[in-house]
């Protein structure tokens, strides 16, 4: 018995020595996002994208191992803070997240206090980064999305009379709406109908009717895909067929269970990632994602993937060590983040000191149940 114990002990010792010898840099990164709930599509996508990136980096055998922790926040600010506390207890060094805006504002405030570096793949409100030097965004900001949408609509002459339907109980939707209106006024676009709804709304017929009665030929929907699906259904039952123009929240509409994707035909949206692009990086990522999860990745998956690469790049530059506590590396991560430039699935990105990303948005249109570039 003693012999066995001794052997076991020796084995343990040998293992510890071995792992110490390899001196792999182990980064503990936590992903937080909704994986159940109304916004589950986004959180699952960012997590899966991040996981693929983490596995790639670990498998590449260049001295970095990524340990990805994952928590579900169900797109709820309170649950997101709990999730944050949980991953910090497990020794997370930095955070990819949170995926959606409202939880990200809550978690960001807490992370700012405790000095934990955060890079959100997709929470796009300026409130996410405002007054917080440690929170960075990988996606466009809402102002950026709102004004870019107005610019695309004006430049490509997609509509002359515009209706906007937005969720006035949601920071993300309201944020995009405000900058859209500003830019639209600058560019001389005519907005003929502005209506709102909240998370509790069942009936969208009044909003759709208002747009229709005011003769709008383009309806701008700065909202998530779930209410968007109901608006498309309501419009089709009224025989109303304007151009629908969405932003990144529209992404996901093609995978909504039971939804007739024919209704989404011709819907336009701004997204920095197209799954049918032909560059090597995209082709490889799409194939891997499809193999693991049996579906075509959306832009959120690409955002999650790019987040991990950006964090690793910044961590290298900042000289992060295995097991360095989050609060110690936060400031050097912030400095490093402003120096790096990476080319990922969603374009070439650089970051400014206020945490906002600098990259180029592209407009897409849904054709035969898939996204294609608006240019084609």
């Amino acid at each position: 018995m003693k012999k066995v114990l001794a052997m076991a002990l020796a084995l343990c010792l040998a293992l510890t020595v071995c792992s110490a010898l390899a001196e792999d840099l182990v980064l503990k990164i936590a992903h937080i996002g909704p994986q159940t709930g109304p916004a589950a599509v986004y959180g699952l996508a960012t997590y899966r994208g991040a996981q693929i990136a983490a596995d790639e980096i670990t498998a590449a055998d260049n001295g970095i191992t990524i340990e990805l922790l994952n928590e579900d926040d169900t797109h709820d600010a309170e649950k997101a803070v709990n999730a944050y506390n949980n991953v910090m207890e497990h020794g997370a060094q930095m955070i990819v997240g949170t995926t959606t805006t409202a939880p990200c504002i809550a978690v960001g405030a807490k992370a700012f206090e405790e000095r934990v570096f955060m890079l959100t793949p997709s929470a796009s409100s300026t409130d996410v980064t405002a007054d917080k030097d440690n929170v960075y965004q990988l996606c466009f900001t809402d102002p950026n999305q709102g004004s870019a949408s107005a610019a695309v609509i004006s430049e490509k002459k997609l509509g002359t009379k515009i209706a906007v339907i937005y969720n006035n109980a949601d920071a993300y939707s309201t944020g995009i709406y405000q900058t859209f209106v500003q830019k639209a006024a600058e560019l001389g676009l005519e907005i003929v109908s502005t209506t709102t709804f909240t998370d509790d709304t069942t009936d969208y017929s009044a909003q759709v009717a208002d747009a229709q009665n005011n003769g709008a030929d383009l309806v701008f929907l700065p909202i998530y895909y779930t209410p968007a699906s109901q608006i498309l259904i309501a419009a089709s039952s009224k025989g109303y067929t304007p151009v629908f123009f969405g932003v990144d929240g529209m992404d996901g509409i093609l995978t909504l269970e039971g939804f007739d994707t024919k209704l989404a035909e011709g819907v336009m949206l701004l997204t920095p990632f197209v799954a049918d692009a032909k560059d090597d990086l995209t082709v490889k990522f799409v194939a891997k994602y499809n193999e693991l999860y049996g579906e075509v990745p959306n832009q959120f998956a690409a955002d999650g993937y790019d987040c991990i690469y950006a964090l690793v790049e910044a961590a290298r530059k900042a000289g992060v060590q295995t097991g360095s506590p989050a609060e110690e590396i936060c400031d050097s991560m912030i400095a490093a983040m402003q120096e790096i430039s990476i080319t990922g699935l969603t374009g070439t990105m650089k970051w400014s000191a206020n945490g906002e990303v600098d990259k180029v948005p592209t407009a897409m249109v849904i054709k035969d149940g898939a996204y294609v570039g608006l240019e084609n």
Binding site: T36, G37, P38, A40, V41, T74, N168, T195, T196, F197, T198, D200, T202, D203, S205, A206, Q207, A209, D210, N213, T226, S229, Q230, I233, S237, K238, G239, L256, E257, G258, F259, D260
Partner: protein
Amino acid sequence: MVFLSNLVNGISLGSIYAIIALGYTMVYGIAKMLNFAHGDVIMVGAYIIFCAAQYWNLPFIVSLLIAMAVCTLLGITIEKLAYKPLRQATSLAVLITAIGMSYLLQNTALLIWGANPKVFPDLMNLNTLQLFDGQLSIKGEILVTIAANIIIMIALTMFTSRTKMGKAMRCVSEDRGAAELMGINVNRTISVTFAIGSALAAIAGMLLCSSYPLLQPTTGSMPGIKAFTAAVFGGIGSIPGAMLGGILLGIIEILGKAYISTELGDAIVFAVLIIVLLVRPTGLLGKAVREKV
């Protein structure tokens, strides 16, 4: 024409509120309790129909019958487990239990069906009625909902006034103690009330999701609260009142959104409720019952 089209939208929404309100008012009228879980029984009914039609490919009528059976069982079970032991307790205790039951159902649905919303399939496959050269369109589902409302309203009124069970229900509603002394089985009567109310919930779930095809665990809660408002508006306990209240509420909501502000839509609805209750505390068709002192 714009007004007419808004009016049609209002009636559409109102007819959905009305059908849910019928279930509320029926249970309140007889058991004298607010079954806040009613909205969630509707959600369960809609999920059962969704599963039966989408996953098992059953015909629409069979799916509806299965859902009605499941909801009836569910209603009786809820009543037996949660409400019956509280028969002698204060009405506040029963109310809190009903709210708890509502959350229990929502979270159980979250566990079983997950939180990803599902788009309810177009099961009835009805045409849209086009009037005035297509300027006014009325969805077939709405006509079915209104017809269902009227049929259910008449059937319930006949049932409570003509049948033995119905008469027993009215007795229980009037004076539970005296009804018991007259040899009426009060517990059984209340169980039957819940069974009927829950079967109606399955029908309401089908109609709700056919008109507004988004199915998630919280699908029943907001329409449930609005329908409860409608039932109070029309005079809770009154069967024609529930229908009138529901339709008026829908019209007020849509016209408020169309002509005043979409942001204030819900505020207008509840403001009207407060005004009506200030002027007529028993609701539009409610009977004023004098309490003997």
